[in-house]
Amino acid sequence: MTAGEVTGARRPEVLDGPFNTRQLLRLDEALRTADSSTGLTFSVYVGELDEPVRGHAEKLHGQLFDPARSVLIAVSPNQRMLEIVTGAEARKRLPDRDCKLAALSMAAAFGVGDLAGGVVSGLAQLADHAGKR
């Protein structure tokens, strides 16, 4: 199930998350575009991160199907922390410097309360830096 899909009559859990329906659709589109244009797997986690924050983000990244080719953006709004984790293969196309640039841009958006906008623009930047598959 993707971010934008709604199944059955029961209210999906994702609607209790930090984004409204319109933002979920934007996020879904950004994820699909990033995945299809780069061939990498992008994912976005928004929630609390246990200490050490980096370790928790890496653990989440390790749960993805193909961590080596995956990129995880982990955002903790209450802790005001952001982690971008790239796998071994993804890192070759997305050097840490490019990730830092995207992180700076995302943090600027988060700082003014724009969670969805920050994530969407961060995904676009990362996909742009990673280039075509």
Binding site: G47, E83, I84, L104
Partner: protein
């Protein structure tokens, strides 16, 4: 200069109706917009984990809501040895960190 009751009602009722409609629209709009994140203020929400396809999450492949203690890959679950026993993908992760 005097107004009859019907003249007063003709003038006042439409004005009241307009005020009522505008008030309802504003109320509905704000309630639909829901909660909004404001940095520095507590923000209650259900953690979420987004993927463009569910099968990209190892394990049952189902959840959209994040499961921090969720299923792990076999090699992670069995990695009881020293740090050197960690899978290659964990050791070579890169990326960046930031805060706001």
């Amino acid at each position: 200069m005097s107004f009859s009751l019907s003249e007063v009602l003709t003038l006042v009722l439409p004005a009241l109706a307009v005020v009522l409609v505008v008030t309802m629209l504003v109320y509905l709009g704000s309630s639909r917009r829901g909660k909004r994140y404001r940095p520095g203020r507590p923000f209650e929400f259900t953690p979420v984990w987004f993927l463009s396809a569910p099968e990209q999450l190892a394990g049952d492949g189902g959840p959209v809501a994040a499961l921090p203690q969720g299923p792990r890959r076999a090699e992670l679950a069995s990695a009881e040895g020293p740090v050197l026993a960690q899978p290659e993908s964990i050791q070579q992760t890169g990326g960046a960190s930031d805060r706001w």
